[in-house]
Symmetry: C2
Subunit: 348 residues, 2 copies
């Protein structure tokens, strides 16, 4: 039995947290909640969808008849700019009750006018437009805020309140907890090795091969050694890109093609629209030196054993640390075997 078939822990070098891996646990019986698989195919246009072209949104704004992507400021954003008054920008003097005002902007990015098309179902050209829309909004928001979070919640199971294909961008000055951790872990590694942590990491993954899912000239997707979610992946820029706004046109196109392949493989694992939360991590724009940073995205998909059985990150995971049953290597092997032709297309 290999060392990884025994229960063990692996350390996430980007956050410093550990994950408990229990490969023998895959066979336990399951009587708990199963999620509903959405097998229905959606129409291309839905007249009460607030994201479809030409429709009205909550506050009676009318969407334009957009042709590719469409971006607007979230009508119910968690962050806004109405409060940039100096008297609210307070911090408590008691360390047990520390708080600070937070200003920012939340945007919604529609990926396509077609209500029914998720990422793997868009063409590389259409996805390139998504990538350049992200880039344009990143650059614009970077003139006002140091930290720009581009992310997507896909599927009802991931709290997505609208099936229309879309993601979000939340921008603010402060470095959020995850960015603060990744920044200090990467800075610490760089100080000791004079190479970015993720540059060294992907070199080793390429040499090993067992956890690599897909790659091209500019991008690589791996199941990270320290993956916590069953089919978690990490997409990393192979060159020295530190912020999303720095992607050039060629890199935008190769990224689109990698995202199409990765999300197609995901959908083909259980022949369903694979839910996930994904998001980009860029260097904060206000660092004196960001040489230690490497642009990357995390995909956190919850499904574990079928289109309807997900991994619950609950009790032990909340109180102690993440726990997984199938190993990162097994998950990688499943994703490697998954077809690159989308199951819906294959069925036609």
């Amino acid at each position: 039995m290999s060392q990884f078939e025994y229960t063990h822990r692996r350390k996430n070098p980007l956050t410093g947290d550990w994950v408990l891996v229990s490969p023998h646990r895959n066979n336990r019986p399951w009587l708990g909640a199963t999620e509903q698989a959405s097998t229905e195919s959606l129409p291309s246009y839905v007249d009460d969808c607030p994201l479809c072209p030409g429709n009205n949104r909550a506050n009676d704004t009318k969407n334009p008849d957009y042709q590719d992507t469409f971006v607007f400021v979230n009508d119910f954003g968690a962050l806004n700019q109405q409060q940039q008054t100096s008297d609210t920008n307070v911090t408590s003097d008691d360390e047990l009750f520390t708080f600070e005002a937070a200003n920012g902007e939340c945007r919604v990015v529609c990926f396509s006018p077609d209500h029914s098309k998720t990422m793997p179902e868009l063409s590389v050209d259409e996805l390139t437009k998504v990538v350049t829309t992200w880039r344009e909004n990143y650059q614009e928001l970077a003139s006002k805020f140091a930290n720009i979070h581009i992310f997507e919640n896909k599927g009802e199971i991931m709290g997505c309140s609208q099936p229309h294909p879309h993601g979000q961008i939340w921008a603010h000055q402060h470095a959020s907890s995850e960015i603060a951790k990744e920044n200090s872990q990467q800075a610490d590694y760089y100080a000791r090795h004079q190479t970015p942590l993720l540059a060294n990491y992907i070199d080793k993954e390429v040499a090993d091969g067992s956890r690599v899912i897909c790659s091209n000239e500019h991008w690589i997707a791996v199941v990270p050694f320290w993956a916590a979610w069953p089919f978690e992946t990490l997409v990393v820029a192979r060159e020295d890109i530190r912020q999303f706004g720095q992607i050039n046109d060629q890199q935008a196109q190769t990224l689109a093609s990698l995202l199409k392949e990765l999300t197609t493989r995901y959908d083909n694992v259980f022949n369903c629209s694979f839910p996930y939360s994904m998001g980009w991590h860029s260097a904060p724009t206000n660092l004196a030196d960001d040489s230690h940073w490497r642009l990357h995205a995390h995909f956190y998909p919850p499904l574990l054993r079928s289109a309807t059985v997900k991994k619950h990150m609950v009790g032990y995971e909340m109180m102690a640390e993440s726990q997984r049953d199938l190993s990162a290597e097994t998950a990688a092997a499943i994703l490697q075997k998954a077809s690159t032709t989308h199951y819906k297309q294959a069925q036609q």
Copy 2:
């Protein structure tokens, strides 16, 4: 408008992480997933339940005809002791691929022979037996392992695969990620103040009163200032108790009574069996000095707006930091107003 009605961040002194608070966001429309409220009342005995007295479990072991609590080693535990061979206890020499073997024991604790009774529906005497069962198992496991996690996942929505009232205990030598963080934050605070962090914290909460839900001579339950989940609470020992195994008989009884009141208030918020994950944090038993520790439990309930609408900790929360809509003070006011007579009893 008070400073807490604007968007702001609060810092969790136990972990060092922040939470983003957006009180204005409560009114957005919701078209996403709603969870099913389980209104059915369960029978006291179910013949294919693997936790009911006298029934067979997965591996053909027969449960005894137990009268109060019943503990067994989890047939599908994430941790076990079969691997305590020195050759598997390896650690990588590459910091990007750090791993270590993990041994331990996972136990299941049935709270009652009655299939239908959750914590608030048990009597104080019955709950005292749950507390002393936890203590007994803690003490026993502490002779073998330094870290003992006592926790409960309640409700299908929290990944609980068995409705029969039960919790779990996972014990192991290593300090898990959460314990490592809480240990270093508490040690750091103690070095600067010569008082445990949580001792000072509950003194201030008692003086303020606005976030206190219930308390007695030995225990207090508050919505912590830095709560991330909508109705998150923190239960803290008011005296110098550092590990669960140190609770005396009187403290066990007052804890039972506090748990009954807290979980009754929870059920009464939405007149449903309120799901949550809860767990106890004790000092690791192998610290040279644990003066900085204070025994406490976290309750993380996911419900937000009704028995069927939960808070999803997804995209932004996974990539950046936790975000909440209603403030800790509003949640505390709702819990304070909730009746201490369980809604099922009130309906009779």
